[in-house]
Symmetry: C2
Subunit: 314 residues, 2 copies
């Protein structure tokens, strides 16, 4: 058993990978100690609804309600609404399940009533009886925009879902970031945390939009010695999604060293997979301490061990 | 066989009763001849979506897709989204089925893209391969507001669904009506029709909001000799909904004579049920010709006979 630190824990999160690590963290320490600070750059307004994919992936996964088959969305999902949208020739490239729609209906209603995204999120988390704290990094509008070779600038979901991230990217921009402020609780959670974990999410399009909210990057950098990042790149490739491709397209190295370089100002530790042990010197050369372990969360015992390693690594 | 007139037919419509008569009209004449002009005073914005209950009841019923069990909404419906809204403690007194939600998602998306309600409606009707024309009476915002003794003024759906219309009403108002204009095609459909049918809908809260759009009442009144109204009151009672109660509460008579009086400026004919035959003289006294038949559309042959009677009655 590793000796785990006391005190609050903050976790910077994207979607699927972060959600998985959070399940482990919540098994190894009391969920109440954990504040997840999540990306909202993937959010979209679709059919009049406010959809927050990363917030919902984290909630559903933590609740044990995520579809194991698909790896996203809810278990026991049905698709009647989308079939009807298809009947009318409507926009159906972004699939919204019927159960999932209930979450978007609720969130949209609360936002229209004047609730903040953070308030609506807390209510949704409470609806699943979850003990951890989930904060959108900002209550303001922030949208990840991706410049592609053939279509120019498109929204993140147009890139990620409609184009299946199968297109060359030359730039990423976080629309609205400059005018955004951290949501209530975000800066405090970072300042108060004993350990700050950067989840194994896409550095370019999941973690960077979190850091792009004015004040957040500085707050993390000020705690650099207590920050533990987990590399989403294993053996040069992303476990899921286009992190490898994006790093290369943006002129970086798709390796744990490339990730260390991306995070060099904000993390003191980088957790890398066993297969990347030979890269340890390259990471050390950037002033970051590498921690080598199994980072592929293929079963709960591995996930829990990774969670313990993160907490003990600072 | 009655001898039916040629030419276009216009039908002023509320929801369920109108939808039923429309199925008959579409069996006895070519659907392409029929233009239904529907109430939008029941429309609501809910969870960010634009819901048009009367337009959808007409579409679904005409498509043969309405739930026979419930008499509203779609057959084969599921309620996964609403269950989820309930999990969060959200607004769930207005039930939106999963299939039905697809229609609202499509409509809301098209409105956000700048389509008019009439355009979105035509697309939805086309999605069901229906041949008739369905027009909202106006593309503008018009909302039926009901003044109740205990809650003051509330929206129509708060009255009709949330309160189950089990509350005393002292006034009805059509918010936005003064500034509304008839949707493209509405005045032409009225001017061009050989016969104008006023469906057996609630005169107070279904037909009156249609007439409240500036220009519509005058256009109908100008065609009074070609207008055939069907009484929604049979034997002093509404077949469905609160028409009887509303007439009484607003100081009118809940009878076919009360309906005749309500419509005296705009209809030349009132079709009444056999049980009300003794009221014929009272209707004639108002300058309206009564036509007595079976108006209870309990099976298709009766519905079709009523449709023929309406068309032949002018």
């Amino acid at each position: 058993m590793t000796d785990l630190p006391d005190g609050p824990i903050a976790v910077l999160c994207g979607g699927v990978g972060a959600a998985k690590l959070l399940t482990g963290l919540q098994r190894v320490v009391a969920p109440e100690r954990i504040t997840a600070i999540a990306n909202v750059g993937d959010d979209l307004e679709l059919h009049g609804l406010h959809v927050s994919p990363d917030l919902d992936t984290i909630t559903y996964t933590t609740a044990g309600a995520v579809s194991r088959e698909r790896g996203w969305g809810l278990d026991g999902e049905s698709w009647q609404a989308m079939e009807m949208v298809g009947r009318y020739g409507g926009v159906d490239w972004f699939s919204l399940g019927d159960r999932d729609l209930g979450t978007h209906l609720y969130r949209t209603h609360r936002l229209a009533e004047g609730a903040s995204l953070g308030e609506a999120t807390a209510e949704i988390v409470a609806g699943w009886d979850l003990g951890f704290h989930l904060l959108p990094v900002t209550d303001d509008r922030l949208r990840t925009m991706v410049t592609t070779a053939d279509e120019g600038e498109i929204t993140f979901q147009e890139y990620f879902v409609r184009r299946q991230h199968d297109v060359a990217v030359s730039a990423v921009r976080f629309d609205g970031a400059e005018d955004a402020t951290p949501a209530p609780g975000v800066l405090d959670a970072i300042a108060d945390a004993t350990v700050i974990v950067i989840a194994p999410s896409n550095p370019v399009v999941s973690i960077d939009p979190v850091l792009a909210v004015p004040g957040v990057r500085d707050a993390i950098a000020a705690r650099r010695n207590d920050v533990v990042a987990v590399s989403p790149i294993v053996g040069g490739e992303a476990l899921k999604g286009p992190a490898d491709r994006l790093l290369t397209e943006l002129g970086r190295e798709s390796s744990v060293v490339g990730v260390a370089d991306w995070y060099r100002d904000i993390t003191g530790v980088l957790v890398i997979d066993n297969v990347d042990a030979h890269h340890a010197p390259g990471i050390e050369a950037l002033g970051i301490r590498p921690v080598v372990t199994n980072t592929i969360m293929s079963e709960p015992t591995i996930t829990d061990a990774l969670a313990r390693t993160c907490l003990a690594a600072r």
